[in-house]
């Protein structure tokens, strides 16, 4: 066997090995998207009011994928960015009835139902985004003990993280609501959850 043929055989096997590495990596990467969404905790029972006057409880989280956030309408820093980002997700998934959004106000004194309705009109293009209010004590308890998010010095000190909740009311992951890369990550994870059923 001449040296060129030997080199060709080496090249052939190198490409084969690269193919196997590629296959393995792609398989692992696909798997990792699911395993990267561990169940963190179950959302506890709660009761809040939607801006249209209807009651919203933990039961409405069942059989839906939910993206939860804490905001207040007078906030001029993170909340408009977060809400715009949620609005983008709402639009992109507008063909899906498996997804919903909840934004809980950390300033229920100011954010009356009508204020929340105006806020909804501004950011939401669909009826699957609920703007919720309730007793401030309940909101703090839900944020800290239910979602494990900081709720100091409200309303300003609310967390800017978005929470991904699966169809079984389990918290799966947190995302920085103002960071584009995180929003894209959230989008991929929503698709993963939808695909899983």
């Amino acid at each position: 066997m001449n040296t060129l043929n030997k080199k060709l055989i080496i090249a052939f096997f190198s490409v084969l090995i690269l193919g196997l590495i590629g296959l393995f990596t792609i398989h692992k990467a696909t798997q990792s998207r699911v395993s990267n969404l561990p169940v963190i905790s179950k959302v506890p029972d709660f009761q809040l009011d939607n801006f249209d006057g209807t009651s919203f409880t933990e039961k409405k989280l069942e059989n839906k994928i939910t993206v939860a956030s804490f905001i207040f309408t007078q906030c001029d820093g993170a909340c408009p960015i977060m809400s715009t980002n949620i609005g983008i997700l709402q639009k992109r998934f507008s063909d899906s009835d498996e997804l919903q959004f909840i934004s809980i106000t950390t300033d229920p004194d100011y954010d009356s139902k009508s204020v929340l309705k105006d806020f909804s009109d501004k950011y939401s293009a669909n009826d699957n985004w609920f703007f919720l209010r309730g007793d401030i004590g309940d909101v703090i308890t839900l944020a800290e003990d239910g979602f494990f998010l900081s709720a100091d010095l409200l309303p300003v000190g609310h967390s800017t993280r978005l929470v991904l909740i699966d169809q079984n009311r389990n918290i799966r992951k947190y995302y920085e609501g103002t960071v584009d890369a995180n929003i894209l990550e959230l989008q991929y994870d929503i698709v993963t959850l939808i695909d899983q059923g």
Binding site: G19, G22, T25, N36, F93, L184
Partner: protein, 308 residues
């Protein structure tokens, strides 16, 4: 002896650069582009974390995924190895070949390209994978392997002058190789354009299936197929002309080019009918990138100024 050293260094640099293209393609198809959200480090570490607890507290760990982090970081590591290899090539060129302008300029140009592409890699990450930057990153890599292939064949010719002495010069064939190179680069650009558009559409419409995504593409996807078949005819012509050459490497690369075009058309059709399996995508891009370097080698084999 010194030229042999330059040749070997150029071959290693070329192989490493092709490995970077492979690793980069793997990053793209496995969606690992944001596996490390920072650059050049990964989650603030020179060795990517293997556990979420290793991520410094000031860095957001939301997007940490060990598989994606290491896939992305491998691309960077192989890129750095290619960079070092090209630095060595430049040292050899500067020490021994200052007067051989072709070798020296190929070495220096490859160093500039690999440096620029590393910097562009940082921009790709900071732009959260802007599809245009991703494609530009790929194009720079293609130019890099072209320059390195040129360095390989030029130094090889310097060592094996006698093989090229009697080589038949055919202007039409040389010109068709130039046309082939331009067309294959355009073809790859079209391919990355299709991919870029698919990604845009998929980000805006995350629920579309892969088949629906392909349907949503503009009609210029057909241009990619048409050009592919044009390349097939051109490669048949090149193959028929080259198979009469005495020099084995020329005959071999002529056959290889034709075979690779056929394989690529087959892979391309597979991607349409089987909804873009990721490994096919990877080899479709990577295999085409081989042709870019091979055509440079062929052209320089048969367009020979040593024949005097």
């Amino acid at each position: 002896m010194k030229k042999q050293l330059f040749f070997q260094s150029a071959v290693i640099s070329t192989i490493l650069s092709y490995l970077v293209i492979f690793a980069g393609g793997l990053v793209r198809v496995s969606g690992a582009g944001m596996g490390c959200p920072d650059w050049p480090r990964c989650f603030g570490r020179w060795i990517p974390p293997t556990n979420i607890d290793q991520i410094p507290s000031h860095i957001d760990a939301t997007s940490f995924n060990i598989v994606l982090a290491w896939t992305e970081y491998s691309n960077r590591l192989i890129g750095v190895s290619a960079g070092f290899s090209i630095i060595i090539l430049n040292i050899i060129a500067i020490f021994y070949f200052r007067k051989e302008l072709k070798l020296l300029s190929a070495a220096v140009l490859s160093l500039i390209l690999v440096g620029a592409n590393g910097g562009l890699g940082a921009l790709v990450v900071s732009s959260v994978l802007d599809p245009f930057l991703v494609s530009l990153h790929m194009i720079l890599a293609l130019i890099l392997v072209s320059v390195l292939s040129y360095a390989c064949i030029e130094s090889y010719k310097g060592i094996h002058l006698e093989q090229f002495k009697d080589i038949e010069i055919n202007r039409t064939l040389s010109n068709s190789l130039i046309v082939f190179w331009i067309l294959i680069v355009i073809e790859i650009l079209l391919g990355t354009g299709i991919r870029t558009n698919l990604e845009f559409i998929s980000i805006e419409n995350p629920l579309l299936s892969k088949g629906e995504l392909l349907n949503a593409l503009d009609s210029y996807k057909y241009l990619h197929s048409i050009l592919g078949f044009s390349l097939l005819f051109l490669s048949i012509y090149i193959y028929l002309k080259l198979r009469n050459y005495k020099l084995y490497i020329v005959r071999f690369l002529g056959t290889f080019t034709l075979a690779m075009i056929i394989v690529q058309i087959f892979l391309g059709e597979m991607m349409i009918f089987f909804e873009l399996p990721q490994l096919t995508r990877l080899f479709h891009t990577w295999g085409s990138s081989w042709l870019v370097g091979i055509i440079i080698i062929l052209y320089n084999c048969i367009s020979n100024e040593y024949v005097k």
